[in-house]
């Protein structure tokens, strides 16, 4: 009897990665503590995030159990489906806050650019895996095209933040796939040279965000307000922080979006530099584990896709903390695993689930 239970439980947990699971749970615990403070001790908000977490865990569990070769099979269809949705958005999308990002599907509406955050690296990983035996320069051209079609559509919406995250994910795949240094350097130079061009095609509000970053005091009550107030929150936190529930910037309503995009300001104000170092350390644990899994992944597809997921996780964390501490422009990127909100949490856990799947399905691939 105990033998049976053991077997069943081993079967159920076979595809979970204990390290990733532990760190994720730890970060989620931190999340609940900060959301409680950021929402002015609103237990409803905390419990609703707990439900989001349960859903996210379920998704993580499910994807951990899906073997990577199944993902390979859906890569192309998902990508094509996603691009089609983006085209639909461009044609019939709803305009919210001046940007065409949403698409009505029956009773609800979706933001197809979210799908592309997974679909693009998945597609590219699949593509490189398929042509791994005979990689030529033209493959990289095709890959670049596969990357820039969706990115271009998202830029047009306009949603520069998401476009950058998608292209970052795609570029990570290209980089890991062995894009030659000459081309990387060449692209970097070309990119720097084309900055003025980029500036000229930017929308006013996008330029404003960049300008605000350079000098937030230019518009202290307008575009610069969020950056100024979150920077003050971080700076006034000091080494040890003001203490849980004691942040004045937080509780007197100076920080905008306290439980979502700017939750790091709350955390940083109340837990200070020590808290920040702890958080950086926890994020590093997730990334390091992802790197280890990726380094030992059995196929090119899993390596490229796993690497892209890990580096995307890093990008989210970096961009969000950089934005809150005033070194990056304000873009709508949540802090992974910490910010309130179901969508981002589920997306992140989905990625972590895939990493677990890569780690635990090696033997199947082998045989």
């Amino acid at each position: 009897m105990p033998h049976l239970i053991k077997r069943v439980s081993r079967l159920l947990t076979a595809h979970l990665d204990v390290q990733l699971l532990l760190v994720t749970a730890l970060l989620m615990a931190v999340s609940l503590v900060v959301i409680f403070s950021g929402s002015n001790q609103n237990l409803l908000r905390v419990s609703s995030q707990m439900i989001n977490m349960l859903v996210a865990f379920a998704v993580m569990y499910a994807f951990a159990n899906i073997p990577p070769h199944f993902l390979m099979r859906i890569a192309l269809p998902l990508y094509v489906f996603g691009v089609m949705l983006l085209v639909c958005v461009a044609l019939f999308g709803d305009i919210v806050n001046g940007a065409r990002r949403w698409l009505h599907v029956g009773v609800t509406r979706i933001q197809p650019s979210e799908i592309m955050k997974i679909a693009v690296p998945l597609m590219l990983a699949w593509y490189f895996d398929r042509y791994a035996k005979s990689l030529r320069f033209t493959n990289y051209i095709v890959a670049a095209a596969l990357l820039f079609i969706p990115v271009g559509l998202v830029v047009r919406q306009p949603d520069l933040g998401t476009a950058m995250l998608i292209s970052a994910a795609g570029c990570y795949v290209l980089f890991l796939a062995g894009l030659s240094w000459r081309i990387i350097i060449g692209l970097a130079v070309a990119g720097a040279a084309s900055l003025p061009l980029l500036w000229s095609i930017m929308h006013d509000y996008q330029r404003q965000r960049i300008l605000t970053l350079v000098d937030p005091s230019q518009d202290p009550l307008g575009a610069g307000y969020h950056t100024i107030q979150s920077t003050i929150a971080v700076g006034s936190g000091g080494i040890l922080g003001k203490g849980w529930l004691q942040g004045t910037q937080t509780h007197l309503d100076f920080i905008p979006e306290r439980t979502t995009d700017f939750i790091f300001a709350v955390y940083s104000e109340e837990f200070g530099l020590l808290g920040n170092v702890l958080l950086l350390f926890l994020f590093m644990l997730v990334i390091a584990r992802g790197m280890v899994i990726t380094a030992n992944a059995p196929t090119l597809f899993t390596r490229l896709f796993g690497g892209a997921i890990t580096l995307t996780f890093f990008t989210y964390a970096f961009v969000n903390m950089g934005m809150v501490s005033g070194i990056l422009p304000v873009v709508g990127v949540p802090l992974p695993l910490i910010s309130y909100g179901g969508t981002s949490l589920v997306t992140i856990c989905l990625g972590l689930g895939i990493l677990m799947s890569i780690q635990t399905h090696k033997k199947l691939v082998q045989s």
Binding site: T231, G237, F254, L273, F283, F314, F318, S325
Partner: protein, 635 residues
Amino acid sequence: MPELIINPGVEIRNSKFELYQFRMRLAIASGFVMFMFFLLFVRFFYLQVIQHEHYDTLAEANRISIVSIVPNRGIIVDSAGVLLATNYSAYTLEIMPHKVDNIEALIDQLATVVEITPKDRRRFKKLTEESKSFESLPIRNRLSDEEIARFAANRYRFPGVEINARLFRQYPQGEVFSHVVGHIGRINQRELDNLVESGLDANYRGTDYIGKVGLEQSYETQLHGTTGVEEVEVDSGGRAVRTLSRSAPVSGNNLVLKLDAKLQEAVYRAFGNNRGALVAIEPSTGGVLAFVSKPGFDPNLFVDGIDPQNWRELNESIDRPMLNRALAGTYPPGSTFKPFMALAALFYGKRRPEQAISDPGGFQFGNHFFRDDKVGGHGAVDMYKSIVVSCDTYYYMLANDLGIDNIAKFMGQFGFGSRTGIDITGESAGILPSQAWKMKRFRQKWYAGETISVGIGQGYNTYTPLQLAHAIAAIANDGVMYRPHIVDYVENIVTRGRTVVEPQPLRKIDIQPEHLQVVKNALVGVNKEGTGARAFAGAPYVSAGKTGTAQVIAIKQGEKYVESRVAERHRDHALFVAYAPADAPRIALAVIVENAGFGARAAAPIARQVFDYYLLGKQPTPIGVDKDSNDASPD
């Protein structure tokens, strides 16, 4: 870095080199991640350690708002406790101009909720023109409960508009005290600059009003009090969350005046429809018992900024109600100057009391004949008679004998031509002419002929009613002069401690007591058998006085002044200086009634009423002077 376990199975599909290359790339990416996280750490360290103090200050500044608590302004009462300036609380509707784009449109909108008259609009416009930036300005005062309720219900429509409870200054006695108590008004830029310069601006944080004239201005530091400070924690919307600390304001001190409100009002009424001024002084202390300048104005109009229409009316009125005649109005003293001239004569030894001159009805000097009032003259005139009948010829000659510089030197002791130092500002010095004065003023030498008319209080010399009262009080007090003061004492309302405005002896005038007695006797004679006799007939006390008439326009040589022929505003001013009781004076006064003709007829009866009220408690009645009658009694 990741454990480099090489899986033999994988090598079937990937060459060792490919795997090595991938892991190199992964290592580079890991290095990139670590570098970027290190950058974040550096940024955190910069913000939270190096710049911590700066951002902490900013966070505190965000959180803590300093609210000033304006102290209650001290009140002003008369010697009997009658309120002259007080405070009451009321609600105002205020607009913060810097938060509103189109003020006109906003006021139109507001007018649909509370009543806003064109007068309110004009006053508001004037306020915006002279206000400091960032202060909220009242569009309506004294809102009714119903109006408050109606605005509250519509408040969301009016960002930048708020209702505030404020203390208002009120002057219950209105125009009667307008020239003594003065009034407050909103602080203007010049006054703000002055406050900043004197370092008082911190204490005026939150204060919108300051004393503009009168006692309100001269005792501003006493009346204002000390501003309290409250530290309030506010949220990002500026709403107060809780109070962190509080230092209570200290109310301003109260002023208790020497002035008697009933006497003041009696005087004001006694003037009837006439313009003029009266200053009554307690000779033994210099305390001011009555200080009237008529017409006055309603000081309550100024408290919140006067509307342009009232302002124009007050400014353009031919009666000049804004002029403080008692303090700043300068008039020729006329014959009231004669007793002082007589003292000068005795001082310089130019006349003996019993020494008589012969008055042929005037005095010939060069080719100019200085005419006496009485056609044919007074006959033989000694010093006593010269004062009692007010003989001009006696003083023409005397002035000629004394010379202008002796006159100036002697009269200066009585305060003629210099400010008395009374405790309100805006005093005129008047003109005490001398050779040096004329050289300085006109760059001309003095002509001996000009001295003659100075002898009877005409010519260049002009003095304020306050100076005249100050001088006659000096005679009443046997030559000891006190600085006139309106405030008796300043009262601290917390400790009830009193700071008395001490009688300050200015000086003792250099005159012999027997000389003084000669003049004092003559002054009693004036009210007993002379020009003041009619006004003081039947008085149960002995009083001393001197009538005077001051020319407004020069009369041609050889022409007699006939009142009915002269336009009203060009008629002579009536003057009277007096004190009573004669042996132990309790009150001395100077009164001038503008364009009322002879002093005996228009001014002396007012003095009689003041004495009757002050010494006997008798209520006065207004005096109607029939200006067209021509029964010119000599002066």
